[in-house]
C-alpha cells in the first residue's frame, strides 16, 4: 500500500516525463504535457525569465539527482550543484525542446560526474568504515520519506551491482526519463546498444527484487 501511494505521488511530483507515449494513458499524457511545458519554460528562461528558469529547475532536478546518485552516490548533491551552475551559464547555447533539455542537462551532469569520479579516484579512498558512515544518513532520510518498498540505499546497492553500461542506461531511461535515442546520445553510444543494455539491466534488477521479496 505504501508502494502504491509513493509511486503515484512520485509519478506526479518528480517531473518524470516519458518522451514517447505507449504506456498507460495517464503517464503518457502527463509526460507529453510536461515536456511541452518544460520546453516553453526553457524558452522563456533563455530570454531572461528567472521564474521560468526556477520552474525548469524544479522539473528537471529530481531526475538529474537520481541519475547522479546512481553514478557518484552520496556526492550527487554537490555534483548536481556544479552541473546546474554550468547549465545556468550555458543556457543561451541550448537549442531544442523539453525532451531535448532533459538530454542536454543529463549530458552536462554526466560530464561533471565523470570529472568528479576522476578526482575521487586520484585521491586516497576513504576506509570502508568511513564509507558506511557516509551512507547511513542517506538511508535514514529514505526511511523518513516512507519509502518502504525500496530504500535509496538498497536502490543504490542494486544499481552498483550492475555493469556500468547497464546501470547508466537504466538510470537515464527510467530515472531521468529520456527516450532511447536521447539516452544513446548522452552516453555516446549506438541506440541499439543502449536499448539492450537497459533491458538487461532492468531484467537483472527485477530478479534481484523478487529474490529479496522486496
Amino acid at each position: 500500500m505504501g508502494v502504491r501511494g509513493v509511486k503515484r505521488s512520485v509519478g506526479e511530483g518528480t517531473g518524470h516525463a516519458p518522451a514517447t507515449a505507449h504506456g498507460p494513458e495517464q503517464d503518457a499524457r502527463f509526460g507529453a504535457g510536461r515536456d511541452a511545458r518544460l520546453g516553453a519554460v526553457v524558452e522563456r528562461a533563455r530570454h531572461g525569465d528567472e521564474e521560468a528558469f526556477a520552474e525548469a529547475y524544479r522539473m528537471v532536478h529530481p531526475g538529474l539527482l537520481g541519475y547522479l546518485r546512481g553514478i557518484v552516490g552520496e556526492d550527487a548533491e554537490d555534483v548536481a550543484s556544479d552541473a546546474w551552475l554550468e547549465i545556468a551559464r550555458d543556457l543561451g547555447r541550448f537549442r531544442g525542446d523539453g525532451a531535448g533539455f532533459r538530454g542536454w542537462t543529463a549530458t552536462i551532469a554526466r560530464h561533471r560526474a565523470l570529472d568528479h569520479l576522476r578526482r575521487v579516484r586520484a585521491r586516497p579512498r576513504p576506509t570502508r568504515f568511513e564509507q558506511d558512515l557516509l551512507e547511513l544518513p542517506a538511508a535514514g532520510d529514505a526511511a523518513g520519506e516512507a519509502l518502504d518498498a525500496l530504500s535509496t540505499e538498497r536502490a543504490l546497492a542494486l544499481i552498483a551491482g550492475l555493469p556500468q553500461d547497464q546501470a547508466e542506461a537504466v538510470l537515464l531511461r527510467v530515472v531521468v526519463g529520456l527516450d532511447g535515442p536521447s539516452a544513446a546520445r548522452v552516453l555516446g553510444k549506438r541506440p541499439g546498444a543502449v536499448r539492450s543494455a537497459a533491458h538487461r539491466g532492468l531484467r537483472r534488477l527485477a530478479t534481484q527484487l523478487k529474490g529479496r521479496g522486496r
Binding site: K7, V10, G13, T14, H16, P18, T20, A21, H22, G23, P24, D27, A45, E50, Y57, H61, G66, Y67, R69, A76, E77, A80, S81, W84, L85, A88, R89, L91, G92, R93, R95, G96, D97, A99, G100, W104, A138, D141, A142, L147, A149, L150, S151, T152, R154, A155, L158, I159, V170, L171, R173, V174, V175, G177, G180, R195, A198, L202, A206, L209
Partner: protein, 260 residues
C-alpha cells in the same frame, strides 16, 4: 518500448527511490535552487546567454534524431514525384517516345536522304516523305545532328559542284587520250565504248544532262579544241579527229590536216 521500461516495476521502484524525496529535504532543494538561480542571473546579466555560441553538443532540436528519417523519406518521395513528372513532360513533348516506340525504323534510313535533297536537288522526295514525320525528325536535335556527316557525302555525288566536275571531265579527257594514243585504228570504237560506259562516264553524262552536252559541260577551261572533238560524239564517230584534239601539241597536226 520506453514506457515498457519505465513503467516496469523495478523501474518504478528505482525512480521512486532515487529521484524522489530522499536527501532532498526542503533545505537542500532550496539551497541548490538558490545557487542555480544566482548563477542564472549572473550569466544573464553578463550577457552570456546572448553571446555564447551553440555547439554541436548543445543542439538538441528534434530534427537531429527523430525527424531526420522522416525528412529523408519526404525527400525520396519528392524525388520520385519529380522524376515521374519530368518523365511525363518528356513523353508529352514527343521527342523521346518516337525513338522508343516502333517508329524509329524509317528515320535512320530516311533522315539522310531527306535532309540531302532538301537543300537543292530533289524537292519531290521531301514532299512525299515529309508528311508527319518530317517535323518530328527536325524537332529532335539528336536525330538531326547525327546524319549531317553522311549528308555531305551524298550531297557531293549527285550534284558535283566544282571539284568533282573537274575530276569527271579530266577522267573523260584522259580516257580519250589513252585510247587515242594506243590504237588509232585498231580498237577505236570498242575501247572508247568501254571507257564511256564506265561509271565515271555515266556520272558525267548524268551531270551534264546528256552525252551531247558533256563537251559543253566540261568545256571552257583547259582545252578549247575539246569542244570541237566532242561535237561529233567522242564515243563513236570522231576518233580520228578527236585523237588530234587530245593535246595542245597536236593542235598543229590538226591544223595541217585541215589544210590538207
Amino acid at each position: 518500448m520506453p514506457d515498457e521500461l519505465r513503467d516496469s516495476e523495478p523501474g518504478e521502484l528505482l525512480r521512486a527511490a532515487l529521484s524522489g524525496g530522499p536527501g532532498a529535504g526542503d533545505d537542500a532543494v532550496t539551497q541548490g535552487e538558490k545557487g542555480a538561480l544566482a548563477a542564472f542571473r549572473a550569466a544573464r546579466d553578463a550577457g552570456l546567454h546572448a553571446s555564447l555560441p551553440t555547439r554541436d553538443l548543445d543542439d538538441w532540436t528534434p530534427a537531429d534524431e527523430r525527424r531526420r528519417p522522416r525528412r529523408s523519406l519526404k525527400a525520396v518521395v519528392a524525388a520520385l514525384v519529380a522524376s515521374v513528372t519530368l518523365g511525363g513532360v518528356a513523353v508529352a513533348t514527343g521527342g523521346l517516345p518516337e525513338n522508343f516506340l516502333g517508329t524509329p525504323a524509317p528515320p535512320p534510313g530516311e533522315r539522310p536522304t531527306r535532309s540531302v535533297p532538301a537543300p537543292a536537288s530533289e524537292p519531290t522526295r521531301t514532299g512525299e516523305t515529309g508528311g508527319g514525320t518530317g517535323d518530328a525528325s527536325r524537332s529532335a536535335p539528336p536525330g538531326t545532328t547525327a546524319p549531317l556527316p553522311p549528308e555531305k557525302d551524298l550531297l557531293e555525288s549527285p550534284a558535283p559542284p566544282g571539284k568533282s566536275r573537274e575530276a569527271l571531265c579530266r577522267a573523260f579527257v584522259n580516257g580519250e587520250g589513252k585510247t587515242e594514243g594506243k590504237a588509232e585504228g585498231k580498237t577505236e570504237g570498242k575501247a572508247e565504248g568501254k571507257a564511256s560506259k564506265s561509271t565515271a562516264w555515266e556520272r558525267l553524262v548524268a551531270a551534264a544532262g546528256g552525252e551531247e552536252l558533256v563537251p559543253a559541260y566540261c568545256g571552257g577551261d583547259s582545252v578549247p579544241a575539246r569542244g570541237l572533238a566532242a561535237e561529233p560524239r567522242p564515243g563513236e564517230e570522231g576518233n580520228g579527229r578527236s585523237g588530234s584534239t587530245g593535246t595542245s601539241g597536236k593542235g598543229a597536226e590538226r591544223s595541217r590536216a585541215d589544210r590538207s
